[in-house]
Symmetry: C2
DNA sequence: CGTAAATGTAGTACACCTACTACATCTTTG
DNA sequence: CAAAGATGTAGTAGGTGTACTACATTTACG
């Protein structure tokens, strides 16, 4: 029973990081600006085609933006280059 | 007008490489065996969720299986480790 | 306050993904 | 030949992704 249909994404994070609005992203992707909102809110997942275009726009691998499992919080322990003295 | 909606995939290649049938792959993915056929024939693209499950099954990055652009033929010159003496 | 920009909610409409059933073809094996 | 497995075609049905319009809310700026 683990919500087996959900796909998680970090579109909002990447958009915040680059400092662009939903409308700007939507225009760059060629989709309706509401579609970006739906995706960020998790109301549904993008088509594979749109997902690939999103990753191409941000210039990152698909796994950076989309995942079958929830993304860890920023600062969560996981990688080996962490450890602040 | 370059067919802007198509997504290319190498499901058939990966499946051939591993020597499994469509039925076996479909069962492992939890989809109908005809769905795998539709995907391999390019009749439509998978949902993002299914695409991620396919890549997880084959244990490869998404870009290895799916692309907005056609995949090069095997043996086509492109990488730097080529050149057979 | 008035305006604009960014975001959220609501609702309709259509195209596409996926399941499923049935049947045809081709190849392999006994 | 008979049987089984892999693949292709055809058709129906239901759920989901995307477009689009309209309106509310919040924040920032003059």
């Amino acid at each position: 029973m683990g919500n087996s249909e959900v796909t998680y994404n970090r579109i909002a994070m990447l958009r915040a990081e680059r400092g662009i609005s939903r409308r700007q992203l939507a225009d760059a992707l060629g989709v309706h600006y509401q579609t970006v909102g739906y995706l960020e809110r998790g109301e549904f997942s993008p088509s594979l085609h749109l997902a690939l275009r999103i990753c191409a726009y941000f210039e990152v691998p698909v796994e950076v933006v989309f995942s079958l499992d929830p993304f860890p919080r920023l600062g969560a322990e996981s990688n080996s280059a962490a450890r602040p003295a």
